[in-house]
Symmetry: C2
Subunit: 116 residues, 2 copies
């Protein structure tokens, strides 16, 4: 894992999504594009589709992880972008997700975690 | 995914760990025990060992996810427990992790995210 003494975590509640939140392949493509545009390295992609509805996609990154959980019946998605590199801006990834999911509103929270 | 209109997220910075944070199999066992004791359902377990050091373990739960990232050279681990069920208390999982990792100190943050 890349080394840095701080971890930046961006958590976004995404409301009123007009895109199909039940399409797990679409969500994988969106997160992989977000990771690429941030300049991060995807180590593993994990996807799980729940029954009857809802998906979870998690990317393990060389710089920690990104995850999205969706509740299509509420048009809601919970996004976390968790990076331990000063060169990577989680906002860049979030912009890609925002364009793809077409929400009516959202709420972001930021946390900085100190490794030492 | 189980349905609830709130998500509870517990984030813990864990310092001065006396256990071996480079032992990915140990970390998987700790997180799986924590999930079980919380009463959550593990859907998938994902583990990645970084070179030369550091591990990431993520459990996809029926109630969202748990993740741990470790930096053994700093004796530091970042734990997230993210649950969307009123019956599951993330503190129960954190207690299992705390006993296993033997930290000298820690810092917890809690977030509640509204689905609607």
């Amino acid at each position: 894992m890349k080394r840095l003494k701080r971890i930046h975590e961006l958590l976004v509640d995404i409301y009123g999504c007009k895109s199909n939140l039940d399409d797990a392949e679409f969500l994988v493509a969106v997160l992989e594009e977000a990771a690429q545009k941030m300049g991060s390295t995807v180590v593993k992609t994990i996807c799980h589709k729940f029954s009857p509805t809802g998906s979870t996609v998690i990317l393990i990154l060389a710089e920690t992880h990104m995850s999205i959980h969706t509740w299509p019946e509420y048009k809601y998605a919970a996004l976390d972008i968790f990076v331990c590199s000063e060169e990577i801006d989680p906002e860049v990834g979030w912009r890609i997700v925002r364009v793809a999911l077409k929400p009516t509103s959202f709420k972001t929270s930021k946390l900085v975690r100190k490794i030492e």
